[in-house]
Symmetry: D2
Subunit: 347 residues, 4 copies
C-alpha cells in the first residue's frame, strides 16, 4: 500500500536517527534539564526575534493542546475554535476532560474570519454563560488552508479587544511556513500570538512539539502542569536533540518543503485530470472530489482519508504528502487515477 | 415593576409555606432519609405507573443536570443536545466542568428532530472522536415548544438504536404537562426516558427538582455523586415536604395550569394586536417580535428578557408567566403595548 | 427518638419562617440580585469591620468548600488540611473531583499546629510535587475544639510566609463565636483569613452558608464558578432573607448560645458521672468515652454518632446539641445513662 | 559527574537504536495499529501465560497511571496507595486532576501490609465517604523493596473481598523480576492483578510502558481514554518496536540484570564500609545513611538523590544503578567514599 493518508508513517528523518545514535551513550539529567534542550531552545529562539519567550517540548499535539489550554484558563473560561478544529473533532473531548467548554464557530474554508468573531461577540450575553478567553486556531487549518499575515493581525487585534488569548496549533506549521502563498514568519507567530506550537511529529521527528509561550503570564509553573498531565518526558533529551537537529540548520524547513513539493505535483496532476477540489490549498493536504465508484479500486493500492460525502455519487477525500513521499508514488497515483477514469468512460 | 421575566420571582406557593410551618419543629434525620422524602416519592411514583424507579430530590436545575450527567457517563462519552439547550448556553460550562463534551445539534423551534439525529449518526466517525452516549432534551424546550408523544417515542427508538441514554430536563415540565396540546403523561416520561426531572423551582416550590432515574443502571450509588457535587441538602426534609405538598393532591398541576392560563390570555391579546411570534408555543413562555423603539418605554413598567435581535428594527423578547401572574398584570401589559403602538402610529 | 446526633434536625428557627411568610408574595429578581441579599450583606459587614470584602450566599458546606477552593487554585495547586478535616473525610472526594489534591496533616485535638505546618515545609521538595497553596481549617474543628486568636494569628503569619491562602470552614462558627473560651471575633476572621464562611444550616437556617471573600483577588468572577457548580440558587432571596433575619439583630448568636448552653449542661452531667472525654471541648459537640455494653440500650432512646472505637470495650461517641435541644432532653439523657451505669454495677 | 541519581540518563539500549534504524523507512499506520505493536504484544503475552489480556503501549509512568486509573474508576471512587507511592508524592496530583481522591496508607519499608489494609476497612464508614475501589502498589516499591508472591496473593485475596481492583506500577518491574529474592513471575502478575505495567523507560527503552489489562472489564474503549489524555503516540510503531526488541529474546531481563549486578557490587562495598541502610533492598535502588558532612564532597563527583534527613547529622540518600552503570563507576564511588571517611577520621 502506498500512503497518502498520514504524514507520520515513517520512523524519523535519517539525520535525527543519526544524531540520536551519536549522543546515545551520554548521560544527561532527566525531564528536559539537559543541554540539548537548552541548545534547541536557543536555535528556535533565533527564529523568533525574541529571547524572552519560554519554550517547552511536549510529545504530541493533543497533549500539547490540553496541557496548554488547561494551564491558561480559569474554570469558568472557554475556548473559541473553528467547528472544524482538531480539538473539536478529533481529540476525544480532551479539552472538556480538563473542565473547559469549547464554543465551535462556523468557518470559511476551515478558517475563522473576523466577521465571525465579531458576530459572536455581538450576541447578547447573560451572567450564566462561560467567559470566552482563548481563540484556538490551526495554521495550516485542518483543511490545509492558511491564514495570511493580514488575517492573523486582524484576529490578534480582535483578541486583544475582547481579552482573548490567541493560541495556534501548528501541527503542520512547517508545511505552512514554506507554502508558496505563506506570508507569516516564525517571528510573526511569536509577535501575534500568546502561544503557539511548532509541530515535529508531522515534520520528520520521531515525535515532539515545541510549545512557544510568548505571553509570560502563561509561562508561570507550566512545567508543573506538564508533569501533572503526563507530558514531561523522562528522557527529555530526546525532544531537545530532535528539535536541535531540526533547527540548528534549516532541516525543519527542508523537510516541509519536500512535502509541499510532492503535494504540488499531485495538485497539478489532479488539475490536469480536471478534478474539482473541495477547498483550494497550498500545503501538504489536498481535498479532491472523486466519484465514489472509483474509490474502492483506488484504495486497493493507496491509503487516503475519506473526508466526507460530497453528493450522492461523489466524495471528498484527503490526500496528504510528506518528505518521504516519492515522485514515483505521485506518478503512480495519478496514473492509476487516470486509468480508472478512462475505464469508467469506456463502460 | 411588573414581572414577565422569570417564573421564580416569588417565595413559594402558600400551601408549601403552610406545610413547612406545621412540620417545622419535628426532628428528622438529615440528607433525605426522613419520612417526608419517602412519602413524596410514593406520591410521585403513583403518577409514574411504576414503583421501581429511584427518585432523588436536588436543589436546582444546573445542579441536577451536572450531577446526573457526570454520573451517567464515562470519561470519553459525550452529550448530544439542542444547540439552544440550557446546558449549552446558560450553565457556565457546568457539564464540561465535569469532563464531558456537549455536541450541539441544530434545531427546529428549539426541538431536535429524528432527521437531525439520524444525519448526525451518518457522519463518518473516527477512533479519535468522543462517543455520543446521552441525548439531552428539554421539555418544554427553551423556546417554550413541546415534543409530542410520537416525536418522543421516535427519539426514544433512535436512542435505543444508537445506545444513547435519553434524559429530559423538566425545569418547566409542569407547564408542559398541562398545556392544551400536550400528549405526554408522567407515565410516558417514565416509560420513554432513562431519566428526567420534574421541576419544582419554576412551579411554586421554594426550590427543588425531583430526579426520576428510570434506568436502574444509572441509579447505583447516585447519592454518593450527589454528596460529592454538593447536591445533598442537609435538611433534605425540606425537599421531601415540598414535593409531598405538590404531589399528594394535584397542586403541582394546578400551579402550572394557572401559569398557562395567564400565558394564554397574553397570547390572545398579542395576537389581537397582530404581533408576530418568533415561535408558536402553548406553554408559559411567549416569544413575540416587537419594534425596538417601544422596548425602552415598555421596560419602564415591565421586566422581560431581550431574547435576540430579529432584524434591524425588531427584537424577539421572551415573556413568561407564573401562577403568581395576575389577570390585571396581563391586561396592564396589553393595554400599555396597545397605547405604545397607537402613539407610534400617530408620530 | 431524642436527637443528639445532628444540629440540623429541625426545619428552621421560627423567626426565619415568620420572615419567609411575610415576604412571600413579593416579586424579586433571581440569583441573589434582590434587596434581601444586599441588606443581609450590609448586616454581616457591620460585624466584619470592613466594607470591602465580597459576600456570597451558598446552600451547603460541601458546596461552599468545593466552589471556593476550585475557584482559588490553579490546576497544580493543592490544599493542606487537618487529616480530620471535613473535606478529607466526609465530602466524597468533592475537592479532588474539581481536580485538586488535599495533603492531610496530623493534628492535635483536631487542630493543625504551627509546628506541624513548619515541619511540613521543611520536608525536601521536588519539582514533581504539587504546590501547597491553601490551608483549610475548620473552626470549631471537627472535634469541637477551637483555635485561639493567638494560634490563628500565628498560622496566618505562616500562611503569608509560605504563600498560602487561609480559608476557614465555619459550618459551626456560631457555636465557636459564643463559646466561653472563644477569643476570635468575626472581625478577626475577616482580618486573618483570605476567606471563611459563616454557617447557617447548623445554626437555625433552613439552609445556607455566607462565604466571606476577604482577599479581593479571590473574588473576581466568583459568581460564574457558583453557577457552574450548581451553587447559585434561583430564588437567591431565600438565602438573603435568612441571613438578614439572623444578623439584623443578634439572632445568629442567640441560637448558637442556646446550643452551647445545652452542651454545657450535658458536659457537666457527664463529668458528674465521671465519664472521660476523648477531647475537651467548649462548643456544641461532646466526645465522651462510653462502655460498649451500654451503647445498644442507650441508642434505643437517643440518636448519637458512634465516632470511633476507643479500646476493646469502650467507644468514643459524639453528642451534639442545638438551639432545639431542650433541658428535658439533656436531663433525660443523663438520667438514662446514670441508670444504665447503676444497672451495670449491680450485675 | 557520575550518575547514581537516575536510571534513565542514557538514550536507549544500542539494540533498540539498531532496530529503529533498520525499520526507519518502512511506512506503517499510526496510533499503534502497526505490525510491530502486534508482534510486541505477542512476545509479551508469551510471558503472561494467557492470550486474553489486552496490552497498550504508553509513553511514561505518570501518563500510564493517570490514564488507567481515570478509566477504571467512577467519579465517587478512590485509590488506596502507600503514602510513599509515586502517585501520592511525585506526580503533581495527576490522579486528583482526573477527579479521584487517593487515600494514603502507612507502610512498612514502602510496602502495604494486609494488616494495614484490614485495619483500614475496619474503620467506621459513613455514606459521605468516597468508595475505595483500587489498590495501587508499586513493585519494586519506591523504596526498592519487593512484595513476595505470598504477600501479593494475600493482598489479591483482600482486594477481592473488598471489591478493589489491584493495579501494580511496574516502573522498575525489570529490576524486581530478576532480583535474587524475587518470587513473582510475569505470569503471577497477570494472574494476581487487574492491571499492571511493565516499565520500559527505566529499563533501556527511549521511553515506553506496556500496560497489561488483565481484567477485561477495564479494557473496554481504553484507547479512547488514551487519546483523550494525550497518551496515544502518533508513531505508535516506536513503542511496538522497542517492546518487541526488549521481549522477542530476553533483552529486557538482561538489561535489568546488569542494573541489579552493579547495585549488588555497590551494596557489598557499602556494607564493607559498615554503612547502615535505611531499608534493605535487592533491586537497583539503595538507601544508605551517610554523615551530612561528607555529602557535599561526594556530590562534587557523583549525582544521587538526597532522600530525607535521618537525624541531626545524617541523611538518607538514594543511589540508583542501571545497565549503563560501569564497574569502574561503582569502584570509583566506593573508593571516594572510603577516602572521605578516612580523611574525616584523621580530623
Amino acid at each position: 500500500m502506498i500512503n497518502f493518508k498520514i504524514d507520520y508513517a515513517d520512523g524519523a528523518h535519517p539525520k535525527i536517527l543519526e544524531d540520536l545514535l551519536t549522543t546515545n551513550e551520554l548521560q544527561t539529567p532527566g525531564y528536559g534539564e539537559d543541554d540539548y534542550c537548552q541548545q534547541a531552545k536557543t536555535a528556535i529562539r533565533s527564529y523568533l526575534g525574541t529571547q524572552s519567550c519560554e519554550i517547552h517540548f511536549l510529545i504530541g499535539g493533543t497533549q500539547t493542546n490540553l496541557t496548554f489550554i488547561s494551564h491558561a484558563l480559569k474554570p469558568y473560561e472557554a475556548v473559541l475554535s473553528a467547528q472544524t478544529g482538531h480539538i473539536v473533532t478529533n481529540e476525544v473531548g480532551s479539552i472538556e476532560s480538563t473542565g473547559h467548554k469549547i464554543i465551535p464557530l462556523p468557518t470559511v474554508d476551515g478558517k475563522i474570519t473576523c466577521d465571525t468573531l465579531t458576530s459572536f461577540f455581538k450576541q447578547p450575553r447573560t451572567m450564566h454563560m462561560v467567559t470566552p478567553k482563548l481563540l484556538y486556531l490551526s495554521n495550516p487549518t485542518e483543511l490545509g488552508t492558511l491564514y495570511s499575515k493580514q488575517e492573523l493581525e486582524e484576529l490578534t487585534q480582535l483578541c486583544h479587544a475582547h481579552h482573548l488569548y490567541l493560541y495556534i496549533d501548528g501541527a503542520r506549521l512547517g508545511s505552512g511556513l514554506v507554502a508558496p502563498s505563506n506570508t507569516l514568519t516564525l517571528e510573526d507567530y511569536a509577535r501575534l500570538t500568546d502561544a503557539f506550537y511548532i509541530g515535529g511529529t508531522k515534520n520528520g521527528a520521531l515525535f515532539g512539539e515545541a510549545l512557544i509561550l510568548t505571553n509570560p503570564l502563561l509561562a508561570e509553573n507550566f512545567r508543573l502542569n506538564m508533569k501533572q498531565k503526563g507530558a514531561l518526558l523522562a528522557k527529555g533529551r530526546l525532544l531537545g536533540l530532535q528539535f536541535l537537529t531540526l533547527f540548528k540548520d534549516s532541516l525543519y524547513f527542508e523537510i516541509a518543503h519536500l512535502a509541499n513539493q510532492r503535494a504540488d505535483e499531485l495538485r497539478q496532476g489532479l488539475c490536469h485530470l480536471n478534478l474539482p477540489f473541495f477547498v483550494q490549498t497550498q500545503t501538504n493536504q489536498l481535498f479532491p472530489i472523486l466519484p465514489n465508484k472509483i474509490l474502492t479500486e483506488l484504495s486497493k493500492t493507496f491509503t487516503f482519508t475519506l473526508w466526507e460525502p460530497y453528493d450522492e455519487t461523489h466524495s471528498v477525500i484527503r490526500l496528504i504528502t510528506s518528505y518521504t513521499t516519492s515522485q514515483e508514488d505521485v506518478i503512480h497515483f495519478l496514473h492509476t487515477l487516470a486509468n480508472l477514469y478512462k475505464k469508467d468512460a469506456l463502460n
